[in-house]
């Protein structure tokens, strides 16, 4: 693999605040090392901006290893950039070539208002979980962990859904800015396990209700969400959500 430095032209969305107008601004970054991560490339740019006394580009990030779900930017029209199953923080510059023009924008959705530049407010996701994305057990008094056997297949499938990192790329990728994959992932995770069974109906009704009030779009089955999901949450999550929702709506019990 070559270690040659690359020259990249960036077009970055700059926006001072939630209601300020924003625009794409162009920056040239030379000396990009192909082994750099995408965010390290932005660090280098911010360092240059500092020297020029310009406002640094604000973007969210924390773990930089693809697990916290904090990083969130649309790179060349795709949430988290061109690599499949890869968050922006795990994207490396070797996925690009010298001379490339790269467009960087924030997640765009009414439910995720822009805070500044590439940073958005994803607290709507927390409110969705707060409305039902849990098993209501108090601490203490849980039965022995092995008292309730759970088949390996169910446990593994539950895990596939539980792997969601809450990044919001599904919303950013969905042409309707719908949060169905995120909500479906939680509903399917808990629905696969006996622990989640008791609250199954109220959970799905309440979570969907919150999802709607937060202003996310509806699902028209584009499938873009799953294709952009860094954790490859399957569309099956949405099927489960739809089924559970229909069943819960028509069932009488509380």
């Amino acid at each position: 693999m070559s270690d040659e430095k690359m020259k990249i032209t960036l077009h970055v969305w700059r926006q001072k605040g939630p209601s300020a107008p924003g625009e794409l601004k162009t920056y040239k970054v030379d000396n990009v090392n192909p082994h750099m991560s995408f965010l390290e490339m932005l660090d280098v740019l911010n360092e240059e901006l500092l020297q020029k006394n310009e406002d640094p580009i604000a973007f969210d990030h924390d773990c930089r290893e693809g697990i916290c779900g904090m990083c969130s930017m649309v790179v060349n029209g795709r949430p988290h950039g061109p690599r499949k199953a890869t968050t922006t923080c795990q994207l490396h510059m070797r996925s690009f070539k010298s001379g490339d023009e790269i467009y960087i924008e924030p997640w765009r959705a009414k439910a995720f208002p822009i805070i500044k530049d590439l940073m958005v407010d994803r607290s709507a996701f927390d409110r969705i979980i707060a409305s039902g994305g849990y098993v209501a057990v108090h601490t203490g008094g849980a039965p022995d962990a092995n008292a309730l056997p759970i088949g390996k297949k169910d446990a593994d499938e539950a895990f596939d859904y539980a792997a969601c990192i809450g990044c919001g790329a599904c919303v950013a990728a969905c042409p309707n800015a719908s949060a169905m994959l995120f909500v479906g992932a939680k509903v399917a995770h808990l629905g696969k396990l006996p622990q989640g069974e008791v609250e199954r109906r109220s959970r799905v009704l309440n979570m969907v209700h919150t999802m709607d009030t937060e202003g996310f779009g509806a699902c028209t089955n584009h499938g873009e969400c799953s294709a952009s999901c860094p954790k490859e949450i399957p569309l099956e999550a949405i099927m489960t959500l739809n089924r559970d929702y229909a069943r819960a709506s028509f069932s009488g019990d509380e």
């Binding site: 969210d60 795990q90 805070i115 962990a145 539950a158």
Partner: protein, 639 residues
Amino acid sequence: MELNARIPAGPISEKWDKHRFELKLVNPANKRKFKIIVVGSGLAGGSAAATLAELGYDVDCFCFQDSPRRAHSIAAQGGINAAKNYPNDGDSIYRLFYDTVKGGDYRAREANVYRLAQISNNIIDQCVAQGVPFAREYGGMLANRSFGGAQVSRTFYARGQTGQQLLLGAYSALERMIGAGKVKMHPRTEMLDLVLVDGHARGIVTRNLITGAIESWAADAVILATGGYGNVFYLSTNAMGSNVTASYRCYKRGAGFANPCFTQIHPTCIPVSGDYQSKLTLMSESLRNDGRVWVPKKAEDCRKRPREIPEEDRDYYLERKYPAFGNLVPRDVASRAAKEAVDSGRSVLAGSPAVYLDFGNAIRRDGEDAIRDRYGNLFDMYERISGENPYETPMRIYPAVHYTMGGLWVDYNLMSTIPGLHVLGEANFSDHGANRLGASALMQGLADGYFVIPYTIGHYLATAKQPKVSTDHAAFKAAEEAVKGRLKRLLSVGGDKSVDYFHRTLGVDILWEYCGMARNEAGLKKALQLIPELRERFWKEIRVPGSASELNIWLEKAGRVADFLEFAEILCLDALNREESCGGHFREEHQTADGEAKRDDHKFAYGAVWEYKGDNQAPALNKEQLSFEYVKLATRNYA
């Protein structure tokens, strides 16, 4: 400084039960009248905030990320220990206790560790009830594996994402309480000071990271669960935002800081690839089960392609030096051996240190599919980061800072030397001594949050009987002014160097160099001379643009680095003071003839607790003497 550990009397197995009975209770109807501040939403903070709210307390919880779910606990990979003995391989509470004290190289408090082992089983029950999808056997029972060289299989895991799943469990419990209006969550809010009234911790001062607003919060007790300070080394496996600020500010307000030099270096991380590097990524320890660690015998072979180096020219140094444990020696031993190999001029990466972790043998023996099945995720991650295919060419790895055993000193009730200030999780010093065993940090964080603090804080609240205070109190105003003054100072330096420059110099050029995997007196003295110089330059040459009343990423970082620059000094002081080698702390002067760590139990079987004495004044050293009644002091031996 009074260091009363408040260890209950009686046989070790009965201490916690007895203590729980003796703790005073808060009347259920009164609980809602008590406000508790929880700083941190990781495993420790998240579980504490949720549980306290369930009990009826009025909780305010803070974190600097945009959601409590993103606390750094999310990154833990390997697993969580518990003494369930499901595999029936001879585990027990006593054995877990014993292993943890021994693994910590006899620098932890026995009573705390025993309680931890007792509670470990409840944690697994609790998490399963929450819907945490632990790995299972075909029969539907929970699966266990042996981890970090343990002789029994006591580690519960959820693929390579155990921390994530446990945190999401705690997070869901926390969100439930937020939804019920019992917890008020303050994300993107950073604690910048602790407020004391009449000697008790009564609140905090925070900065809203979006608006820049400086705000005060008053409470009846404060819980700090702000994680470790590994980022003082600049490059570590910690998240970018991990910091020492919260703990350090408490230290400056009078909380003792214990054993700051006890830092853990993890042997299998992806090596540094250039000076733009912002963080290091851990590769799970489980890789050492099948991977063989080596470097070329001859330095001139290092630039050759690994497959071109014949077997006889390779130095499988762990297998050579430790024939019994081979590649599975404990973390500190493996890390030091890697450093030794690299220091002998045999790094396998141009321009930065690295050794090979080779799966060639395992692939030939078990087939590529079997290896893919076991480590597929990790191999993919390695490829994403390094751009190399580990099925074809050996991985390159090198140790990196990973965990900090040191932290604020706490008694058996997890209360610091400041009444009312309780410290949980990685932020305290309590259970791991000089070295943490794999899969025991998650256990400790959740034990503290779910099962210890809910009892002990009640006792504090029921007995402290402090009057209500509001944020109008002069102490809050004074703390706010101090915080504002500091931010203003950072903004007004107007130099030309970035925060990262200072952070990198401190971490990489000073701490990693002189207080890293191996330490010696001359180096530590050098570091203690360099740190104040760098700090002085920081306050003259730093450039922090923008203002304090807006989202300002440079300002956030600058505040954290300013604290690291002060804290690094106590870290080195502690390392200099501790004239022995134990656990993660290796003093070159104190080693056996064959290069193993040599403890000095006679002189150093104590927790070193540093007390702030004023700026530009040496901190005072206090000692909590440790006594070992149940675990026999012995020399660790892996040869």
